[in-house]
Each structure stands twice: as C-alpha cells, then as structure tokens.
Point group: D2
Amino acid sequence: MNGEIEINPRYSETDQMGVIYHGNYFSYFEVARTNLFEELGYSYRKIEDEGIILPVIEANCKYKKAIKFNEKIIVKAEISFIQRIKIGFNYTIYRKSDREVLATGFTNHGFVDKDLKPIRFKMFNEEFKTILNEIRNDLNEY
Amino acid sequence: MNGEIEINPRYSETDQMGVIYHGNYFSYFEVARTNLFEELGYSYRKIEDEGIILPVIEANCKYKKAIKFNEKIIVKAEISFIQRIKIGFNYTIYRKSDREVLATGFTNHGFVDKDLKPIRFKMFNEEFKTILNEIRNDLNEY
Amino acid sequence: MNGEIEINPRYSETDQMGVIYHGNYFSYFEVARTNLFEELGYSYRKIEDEGIILPVIEANCKYKKAIKFNEKIIVKAEISFIQRIKIGFNYTIYRKSDREVLATGFTNHGFVDKDLKPIRFKMFNEEFKTILNEIRNDLNEY
Amino acid sequence: MNGEIEINPRYSETDQMGVIYHGNYFSYFEVARTNLFEELGYSYRKIEDEGIILPVIEANCKYKKAIKFNEKIIVKAEISFIQRIKIGFNYTIYRKSDREVLATGFTNHGFVDKDLKPIRFKMFNEEFKTILNEIRNDLNEY
C-alpha cells in the first residue's frame, strides 16, 4: 500500500499543443484518490453509498514537465490532513520510466451529506472512522 | 425556433491531431438536444425533475471535415421519430462562416424512470405529452 | 494477444444520471484501439511519428446496460476491415465480473498524412504494411 | 470589454454528485481566457499561429457553491500580472441570475515557442507586445 497507481494517458486527453490537457490532471488525481481509498479498505463507492460525499473545496496543480500520450505515468496520492469536517490530499505525478516528477498538486474536500450539509467525521460508521483516526494519528506524529 | 445553436469549440476539446476530438461531437449533439427541448418549451431539467430520464440507446456520427479550435459552428438538432418508449434525434454540424456541413449524426433514446424502467410517453404529464404528440403528427405527415 | 484491455471507469466520467456519460465510451474504444496496435507490435505513437494519422470517419455505439463508476470493464477491439485508404474496428464492452455485454460499437478511419491527404496503406513502411497485410489475409479467410 | 463570457453548463460536464465535475472548471477558465484575448484584439489562435504557446505552469480553483446543469454562469477572466516570460490570470465564476460568486481561481502560464523553450514577450511582434505593455502599465498603476 503506497497510494500509487499507473495511468496510461489517452489520446482523448491530449490537446493541440501535443500534450495532455492541463485540466485532465485533476481526473488523474481523482483516479489516485479513488485508488487510495480502495487501498485503505474503504472504497469511494462505499462512502457514497453511506450518504457521505466529498466535494472538492480547493484544487491546485503545479505543472513541471508536459505529459505525452501513451507515456505511462505513476500518480501517487497521500492524505495531507484530516480535520472535523475536511480532508486534504497531496498528489505527485511521475514519469514511469525514470520516476521524474512531472507535476504536483493538492485537493481539499469537505465531508457532506446528500443535501450538501457538512457532517463531522465522528458521525461516520465505526469502520470508516477507525481508518481515518489511524491515519490522523500517523499524520500528527510528524 | 429552428433547433440550431452556436458553439465555439474549446481548446480543451482539441486533440494532438490539432482538431476537435471526435468523441466530443456527442457533447455538441447533446448541447443542441438540450437547446431543442428548451425551444419546444420543455427543458431537459424539467423532464428530469419529473422523474423521466432519456438514456442514449444508440449514438452515431459521420465526420466529413475536421472542426478547429475557435472556429464557430452551428449544431442543429431535429426529432427524427417518437415511438411509445423511444425518441430519436438527427444532428447536423455546420461551419458558421459558410454553412459547410462538417458532420452529421443521430442519437436514439429510451424513456425511462429513475430506476431505468421504460415509461410509455402516454404516461407523461399533459403538457409534455401534448408537445410530443404535436411533433409526432408533424413527422407523420411526411 | 486478444485485443482486450481492462478499464476502471472514473468518477469524472459519470454524469448526473449516476452512470458513465455515453460520449465517454468513444474514449474507451480509443483506449482499446491503442492497446490493439500495441499488441500488433506497432504503437499508435509510432504510426503518428511516421506521419500517418487515422482520423475517424464514422463512430457508432449501441448501449445495452449502463456502466457504473468503479465497476471494472473489459473493452475488446478487433479490426473489422482493411481497405486501400480505410480501416475499421469493432468494439465490445463487457462487465469484468460476469462478462455481460454492456455495449458494442464500431469506428471507421481513413489513412491520411499530416496535411490530411489520403495515403494508400501500400505506401507505408514494410513493417507496418506486413502487419496490416497479414490481418487482411486473416479477415478475408472468413 | 470586461473579460466576461456566459457559459451554459452541459450535461456531459455533470458527475454523479449531480453537479458540474470540479475538473471542468478549468475548461471554463480557458473559455474565459480565450474570450479575453479575443476582446484584447489578439486571439489565442493568432498567438499560436505565430509560434507562441502559453502552457499552464500552475492552476488553482476554490469552489464555493456547486454549479448545476443548465444553470447559466458568467466566467470573468482578468490578467493578474505580466512578467518577462510569464503571464497570470484570475477568474471568477458567477451564477448569471443573481451574480452570486460560485468559484474563484487562477492560472499562471509561461511564454514558450513550439519547442517549449521560454520566449521573452519583448520578442513578440509589435502589435501583441503593445497590447501586453498597455495592460502591464495599467496593472502597475494599482
């Protein structure tokens, strides 16, 4: 479990500059975030099925080197913080062949219910709460 | 009311061939379809709010000339048929400057409820049913 | 080598119907097409590097069952025909878990150069021409 | 000339949360940026035709309220800074009906040539340089 997933950039994701369109990096981040939840043992679908939604509050990306079509990349997601009603993720995109960093970014999300009202993560079911609490403790140790 | 809407192709919609990615034409068709419902006096949002969904059963596009970034186009949508539980649309994409045809296509849709079960359009509310019946009569005259 | 590739549908690819947006199936087809060229030993990037482009002339999809976020699918691409200046592909999308067919489709493509002028595939380099000729012979046996 | 453009959010841009997918805001920003260049009298296509490309170095968005399908928005772009080899833009997305702010963001771009090498904007042609210099002077007055 390391929060990393391989992505093969698609032709549909390129633009006429001949590289991956910058807006598509946020879909790559989301793929890595989905994978991270999977690895933590609590899939994003399961979260939504329980009525918890994680809308993005802020998204950011710094672009270092262009990503090309069909040039495999690794996208790594990490939890950066967990607060009462918020969670943050950091991302790094590497070229697969040589691990060169191509981009970094972050997204912050709220915990809300289906009516988009904030929920404190203490209200989550035991299993998910336990997972989040463990991560939180790990983060606080640094 | 002629079912036509102007679209200004976006940079994000181009691909590394230097033209609009072929898959994006289906979003253009959908913009024209949304506009057509608007013109008919019954918006797509209103339809969904009443619990009717129109999932695509088949989609087709014939590509004649490439569409370039920022080269304005006109997308025309027309209803091709209305059946008990199905509706069809035809589309034509023109270059705005000279009305040259750049692509044509069609989509067929089912009438279903939120559980994706087919609904006969006779079950729709009077207003929407009347609109559809009038179009249907016009189509049958040809 | 069977022309199949696994795809994990992304959250960004869903729409408010709660399923994968129909226009995105054409990106899935393209991923399978890219993979097929890879398997044939001649990547799409290599083709473009040699100045050959394969613009879509016609695209079609029949939708049978909705695809859900994070519900893994298999997309299979096959070459349906090779003609002097055209090539066709058929696609089938299966749910990974039970191999149920969720959609089928096709795309037809021209062989053109960077100025979008048709090229006969006989003009391609020996390696690529040989690959295409072998497939063509196989197709003609049926 | 105020850098504002109206956008009608598309069905294809929604996700299963029932709102516009957060990654699509960067396409909206780009539409407003394209429009701003148009208003300044120097279209983005003209810039690219002269061999100048403006790749994104950093992109950011703060999401305040969700954007719904078919709920018209106004996207405003403004130049935030012009430096030797960099240019920045700020964006605000308003709901059209009541001018409520739904999101804000920024993008920073480099000036590069087709080989992605930095170009100082002093090297641009007189017309474009004059436009940029005027904006720069206006910005410095504040």
